[in-house]
Symmetry: C2
Subunit: 497 residues, 2 copies
């Protein structure tokens, strides 16, 4: 149907069209569904999400967000053609999966393609996630899903024998090993003149207090296009960038957004999400860290072992050599939680300072050794890792990466608005709940407020005296601090007994 | 957090707030999620759906749709407090159901309440529907669901011994029995001075070509509030109104909207949807029509029988005497499909004209007799039904209802823009697919274009000559007609062999 366009002067983050009620009725579309828009007489089209306005009379215009206006190059009152977006076939496939059938590559590819092209609504994606969650996926389906997620996105190729990568399935507060591991590995590569790179892409925080990208941003840029990343990696042999703008496995972000509504994380999707990104970026040697324990994503060792097997099986089919490490996830790793506080920990480890957090130091050394152990003798790996840390070469590598990413190392101090949490009685720390710690850090303003967060003075099994400070909470405003302290006291993330 | 408000000058059909990116990040909310808004210092609050705008700088304002502005009585730049809507507990219950647990009344009530209050996103509702669809619901859960759906809405009470009702589960094109049955029953009530009423509420078309409300609207108002409906029913003993504005079983509309995305219709939800509405409006005698056959909602007799049992069991627990009739759903009922064409059929039956569609006439007589048979001897019911049709009393009752609903009977002619569909060869009609017929009627403009639709010159098993017209399609514009004819030829809803 033909209608005139009216702008609403807003960039809404996705193409949105607001239809007068009568037009929506005629097109038989509801809020949240999709229509296709093109300028009258032109072929270029865009899929837009429908909202409905209750104008009573029969109108001959629709409202459009700037995404549509810009993409189709429209002026106010230009005539556009609008049509209900044909129900994508993937809706039928999702129904099949709900009914218990398994899906082949072609069908999974269609679903991924429709997700990327904005042709499935959040509710339709929720149906897909439910189907995976309840029905599960067999080995073959998981392989197809990984391949489909890779195929709808960009692939990047680095011309090195070994393209190394590391990944943690998440859920542990602090735990900022990535900048340390990457710096160690980069300096080892340069020391030993290895034919290898570690082009590390990371996410921003999804439900945790911060992601590696949020942390690195304090010093340097993290958003680059593919060519820029290649240039950085060729020069330094590694990088610490945000993966979101590269277009690798683009269906994943959308799926994660819908999953978090119910905190669902079907194992098949977890595996596909991680591996599709690694494959897209051309990795061939990977370590995956699965921390387990109460309050972590994976609560039991048994679950962790099962997941390990599925990761190893699936990656092997893509020529990706993966070693899965099952680690202790009972408490946060490092002292700081929140971008600035975590980066302070990272620098202490890289500088090998006396007051470095021991757990973060040891875990980083362990991961770096295991990763390098995939391309050389383990004892040799161990030696080089120790050497580059002790001689400050890992820190040099970090500085080089930051410089290549157009940044510099600065003095860091957390917010001056803080409050000390003191023990009400003498005792021993028997629990530090990762989930609660992450939640409180968000309440305090993380990850957007980079100088907010939580600093742990004590770890599991340590003794505290009555009135001794065992944690400090930081916020960027008094208001957020008060709220954070209140939530801290309610949730009791740290238990003293 | 405190922000200034800016209007976008739009009534969007539901409260929408557009957050600058940085604010969304801090609140940790995504597109489609919910936040709570209140005027600073005031308690009155509203739950709004989030959209995000890509303003780059840190903004101190948000955009709001007129629903929010009006409800909170805001002026431009007023300060409002915005907070992420606490994840409703029902999200946990939905997860439980996905995990295979059954839900008790309290949990189902929470879910229904959150749906009505706009506190669950479409994707969260999709998770709930998936869980019912895959896990099913036991008898007790269905009872609880019905009660929960009733309890979150309005209940209406009529002070009569018998409150009659009829319902068809839908899917059959044409099939406009309701105005006829209601008119027959109303005139029987008046003839026999029965202590009974038939306060019939109907829906507008959801996925079919028209609903009873769309049809009656050609002559009269269909939107009344509860008091007005009571007044009409007290005077005429019946009505033909739209149920949507009464607030009975309000969760249902939202659920239906999300179900239709995947054309899912879990049996438990189908039963709860229908019975909750009947119970809310105080019915105590009900007939339900389940048409079955290829192209209908229910395809096999076995399925129909199972559904019948569930309907009868569930209604019995609410003191609602229900008789389920399993009828032939292989083809449309009546000749016309589309509001005007269906109403023409209805008038012919009510006037007992010679050229009335026989199938529609017979089915209406059957349903009316069965319904009256619930409160009197069947043979007595049969007699009175025949009498009121023959003597024109049913038609008088119809006229009275229309008059009470502020309308009048008018001359009806379908659109003058039409096209005859002619047989390409001599043969017999072996298939008329309800789904396809409904779809084509929508393409032609139904239900918004009331004078559009399809007229069937022939029914199943009738012979056609080569070049004989077996159907006529009507549209309100040439453009829609051409498109409708094209789709008709592609889909071949009527098969001649």
């Amino acid at each position: 149907m033909l209608v005139k366009i009216r702008g609403i002067g807003l960039l809404t983050g996705r193409p949105i069209i607001i239809l007068p009620k009568e037009i929506a009725k005629w097109l038989n579309v509801n809020v949240g569904e999709r229509i296709v828009v093109n300028k009258y007489g032109e072929k270029k089209q865009i899929v837009a999400v429908v909202d409905i306005t209750k104008i009573e009379e029969r109108a001959d215009f629709v409202y459009a967000s700037d995404e549509i206006i810009n993409y189709l190059n429209l002026k106010e009152n230009d005539v556009v053609e609008i049509n209900p977006a044909q129900k994508p076939l993937s809706v039928l496939y999702i129904k099949e999966k709900l009914d218990g059938k398994s899906l082949n590559y072609n069908r999974l590819f269609e679903i991924m393609k429709n997700i990327v092209n904005n042709e499935l609504t959040e509710a339709e994606i929720a149906y897909f996630i439910s189907s995976m969650y309840i029905r599960g996926m067999n080995k073959k389906e998981i392989l197809s899903l990984v391949k489909a997620m890779v195929d709808v996105g960009q692939r990047i190729k680095f011309n090195y024998k070994y393209v190394l990568d590391k990944h943690c399935i998440g859920g542990i507060a602090g735990n900022r090993t990535t900048p340390i591991v990457v710096s160690i590995v980069v300096s080892a590569i340069n020391e030993l003149k290895l034919n290898a790179v570690i082009p590390k892409t990371s996410s921003r925080a999804i439900s945790s207090a911060s992601g590696t990208a949020d942390v690195i941003e304090l010093f340097a840029n993290v958003e680059f296009d593919v060519d820029e990343i290649k240039r950085i990696v060729n020069r330094v042999k590694g990088c610490l960038v945000w993966g979101g703008s590269l277009g690798v496995s683009p269906a994943d972000d959308k799926i994660i957004q819908v999953e978090r509504l119910l905190n669902l994380d079907p194992k098949s999707q977890l595996i596909a999400s991680i591996l599709s990104k690694k494959i897209s970026i051309g990795s061939n040697r990977l370590i995956i860290d699965i921390p387990y324990g109460k309050g972590a994503k994976i609560e039991t060792k048994n679950e962790a072992l099962k997941l390990k097997k599925m990761f190893e099986y699936t990656s092997s089919k893509f020529g990706l050599k993966t070693k899965v490490l099952i680690t202790d996830g009972k408490q946060p790793i490092g002292n700081g939680i929140g971008p600035c506080l975590e980066l302070i920990d990272v620098l202490k480890v890289l500088k090998n300072s006396k007051d470095k957090p021991k757990d973060l130091y040891e875990k980083s050394i362990y991961l770096a050794t295991e990763l390098l152990g995939l391309i050389m003798d383990k004892s040799k790996a161990q030696k080089i890792v120790e050497k580059v840390i002790k001689e400050g070469k890992a820190f040099d590598a970090f500085k080089k990466i930051i410089k290549e990413q157009k940044g510099s190392i600065k003095e860091l101090t957390p917010s001056s608005i803080f409050s000390e949490i003191k023990a009400e009685k003498k005792g021993k720390i028997v629990e530090i709940d990762n989930r609660k710690i992450n939640f409180i850090a968000r309440v305090l303003g993380c990850p957007a407020d980079k100088f907010a967060g939580i600093y742990l003075e004590k770890h599991l099994n340590e003794e505290v005296e009555k009135d001794e400070t065992y944690a400090i909470v930081y916020a960027e405003t008094k208001e957020k601090l008060d709220y954070g302290v209140k939530v801290f006291k309610e949730l009791k993330p740290i238990v003293i007994k």
